[in-house]
Subunit: 439 residues, 2 copies
Amino acid sequence: MGAKKKLKKKIKALKAQLKTAAQPAQGNGVLVSPLAPVDFPDLPAIKGVRLATTAAGVRYSGRTDVMLAVLDPGSVVAGTFTRSATRSASVLDAQTKIAGDGTEGAAILVNSGNANAFTGAAGVASVNALSAAVSQKLGLPATRVFTSSTGVIGEPLPHDRIIAVLDELTVGLSGAALQDAARAIMTTDTFPKGSSTTFEIAGETVTISGIAKGSGMVAPDMATMLVYIFTDAKIARPALQSMLSQQTDRSFNCITVDSDTSTSDMVLLGATGQADMPVIDDATSEAARAFSDALGKVMLDLAHQVVRDGEGATKFVEVSVSGARSDADARKVAMAIANSPLVKTAIAGEDPNWGRIVMAVGKSGAEADRDRLSIRFGPHLVAFQGQVAPSYAEQVGAEYMRQQELVIGVDLRLGVGAATVWTCDLTHRYIDINTDYRS
Amino acid sequence: MGAKKKLKKKIKALKAQLKTAAQPAQGNGVLVSPLAPVDFPDLPAIKGVRLATTAAGVRYSGRTDVMLAVLDPGSVVAGTFTRSATRSASVLDAQTKIAGDGTEGAAILVNSGNANAFTGAAGVASVNALSAAVSQKLGLPATRVFTSSTGVIGEPLPHDRIIAVLDELTVGLSGAALQDAARAIMTTDTFPKGSSTTFEIAGETVTISGIAKGSGMVAPDMATMLVYIFTDAKIARPALQSMLSQQTDRSFNCITVDSDTSTSDMVLLGATGQADMPVIDDATSEAARAFSDALGKVMLDLAHQVVRDGEGATKFVEVSVSGARSDADARKVAMAIANSPLVKTAIAGEDPNWGRIVMAVGKSGAEADRDRLSIRFGPHLVAFQGQVAPSYAEQVGAEYMRQQELVIGVDLRLGVGAATVWTCDLTHRYIDINTDYRS
């Protein structure tokens, strides 16, 4: 197609979009991701946890940008963090504090709009000022105050604006504010993210409710994500930490939007112990397994929601690799596919271009034998033993790619290693969002 | 900015582009990259090398898509190849042949439009059929016939169409056809790529002339590139191979367009030995160093041209990292920056978003200390010791980013490791090109 014809086609498409843009959108004028869940789920309050949000004007105007969560005395907190070598001050601070076994209660203060990352000594000072202010306001040791910041990197955090609203926040604390909290921590997110489950341990109902933010700069090692999960389960801190780490590897570390990893991200899990159950102190006990499974379910749901809100995403893609020499090799292959710009643009174009999958397998660094490789799109076997499958018709693949939820399956037929990761496509809207001056 | 306002702005921009699109374009209707050199360079013929091109209709119509190069008896050939685990049949074939020390002459047959990759037994049969046909036509052993294919992956190569034009090719062989050859091997390239240099060894003028193709699926480990370099220098094969491998690491393995690596790519270097000079058989001799330097110059020029033709590129970016613990660490950091979609979209948006550079340093896996890190944009020191440099004004960075050629400098201040790589920005046009059904 000639350049002129292409441009005319694009203008036509944009004019059509312009019409759609008049439809209901988020408060900030951004369209909601087409992959968003229909509704925000019902998030039951957690005994021993109260939250509040407000607008501190850190960067955004006309929306909430700060949330405070307060956990009653007796609570324990576990955490997992970005592995970035250029972690932000609040991440480094939280990593130090998380190891402490304090049971005086805890507070989590989060702002959006400014990540307070790569801000040198000023960044450390901001974290200390916020911790001290919350500590004083709530009568908690500063070592039990966790802070997170998300947004622009490299600009000093105007922490005074946050301290100025602490009174308002403490007055407003309520068990019912989880959805508001999910909104206050959003940056480029187009919908708030929450998930919850209830289950029984020793005949007693236990609840886990969590919220998350993240839509770009998302890749394993935690990515641009902030996740806060609360439960009334009664769990010793080491067991809680062990289960959180394990489930992070299976959820948030298995998603990628753009292969980029943030400097700021963390998952905090607070357990108030207010459910009437025997304490779990062995991470391998039956009760622990029940808790860990339920936790994993909530975390995977939140992780999938982050992918569904991937910047510019129009397709939700599961990449499932089997038959690798090892699980590590399978993961390498899955991530190479999920991060490949050529694979992701082909998906955006609804092109069943399995040649690009082969390319990604080849570059992954994992052991692969071209002539053993099979590829499937959903239920359709596309390639078998290194060439197009005899049963495959291009039209079937093209039809399949039109779906909004896709599965790419790769079988290396070399061993029993397997891995599944989740990603989205790479579209014009990703470029729009990220070429905008200082998003 | 609201969604409607954004769309209106975009339509306006596209309408402006539409005007420009009326300007002179390539024969295939594609606009030439704004980073293209003004002219194709003058490529002197190489004594002992003849070339020819024609249109075999492998996939494209209305353009040449096959080239044949024939090297006189006495020539030696060296090669470097993609490290993809799913290498194409012609790459595997050439890797076997390249080790042979045959001096009966050599032939190189290249087609564009179809990569003959992941085509199983049919792919091997195509390579063998093409080798046999050229061997018979030219009276050369089949072990001295190298083939390359570039284009779509996973579809059988219609090699009969190429064999059908071999007569025409052999009749048309000429020393002057290097520019035509550079055109015939193009796929999504918007301009043909050539480079040449002449220098003296032992008082005798020696010439190196090379051509290359490649504009997407370009990343270290050779990428979607085909490169053919010819020289009249007299060099023993082991020394030639050693110099080619070394210069590949400094040129083609230091560029990246989209982090994707092709299954098909190779660099072949043929030396005819027809210059009147003593043979170079020691890769560390003075004459060898002179040759290697000249070869490196041609290869780096070709590598830069590949980046300048990066799909959708509007900026040519050098990423220079110093002060790393090791050269390997420096390379990790440089590649993490050069491959980051967030860095590349910020550059496309002319946003001096150094926070994203920090992010990329952090995720690279190399040792880094946030509080020792310095970043510069060209001559402007942006960040120093982990925070914005006192002398830096945002406006200076914004002004700098408007240039077409950019340098991003990172100093880790941990050691003496250094690396430089080259990349381009990530734009809407990259998405256009790659979401097109089966490009």
